[in-house]
Amino acid sequence: MNLFRSEEHIVRWLDGRSPGTTISALALCDLAHAWWGDRLSPSWRPHTRDQNQSILDSLGLTGTFWQLP
């Protein structure tokens, strides 16, 4: 789960491995706030699998790659 300068850098870093998926810094920031925003809340409760999947879905992170177990 790394940052890269460009798609070209990702391809070079993969070095023949199958790629995962790539999103923008803007999308990543939105994901991080939705996913981690409550972690220091005194009322924190564990997220269920469905809650986490809803976060991904709501941000358009859909498809097989983003399906939680």
Binding site: R5, G20, L40
Partner: protein
């Protein structure tokens, strides 16, 4: 995860932020008013529930996601403190967890070129043309969370 383990988890996270580093079992036991052995057992249950991550075979914290216990390539300055994140996602996550603007200092994983991204008002500014690549599918993240 029962209420006692959630309370232990919240105390652990609070100390992580307060100390600016991972608390030990003994430090957490003192704050929680628990025996160290009970904290160690609780941390193992929280590890098994993916609520934090321990180094294998130890009672030493490795991750209180999004915070990393040791230095990583992801340094985050937010809310008047510096922290290390486990990955790029967690780096933004530290700003989110602290509900703070921040500055993320890292490098392109390919070429090593320095990258600095600021978070202001929950949005990235600065070098926002960088890309985030996630190699491992979501279904496999916890098969090896350190690699993921």
């Amino acid at each position: 995860m029962d209420d006692l383990d959630i309370a232990l988890r919240n105390t652990t996270y609070g100390l992580f932020v307060e100390f600016g580093k991972a608390p030990t079992v003994d430090e957490t036991a003192r704050r929680a008013g628990m025996a160290s052995a009970h904290v160690a057992l609780g941390w193992q249950r929280l590890h098994d529930a993916h609520a934090l991550v321990l180094y294998p075979g130890t009672d030493e914290l490795r991750m209180a996601n999004p915070f990393a216990a040791r230095s990583t390539p992801y340094r985050v300055h937010a809310s008047g403190r510096s922290s290390y994140a486990n990955c790029a996602w967690d780096a933004f996550g530290i700003c989110a967890a602290l509900q703070s603007d921040g500055r993320i200092e890292t490098a392109c994983a390919d070429c090593g070129d320095e990258i600095t991204v600021h978070v202001e008002g929950r949005k990235p500014v600065g070098e926002i043309d960088v890309l985030f690549h996630c190699l491992v599918p979501a279904s496999q993240w916890w098969d090896d969370i350190v690699f993921s």
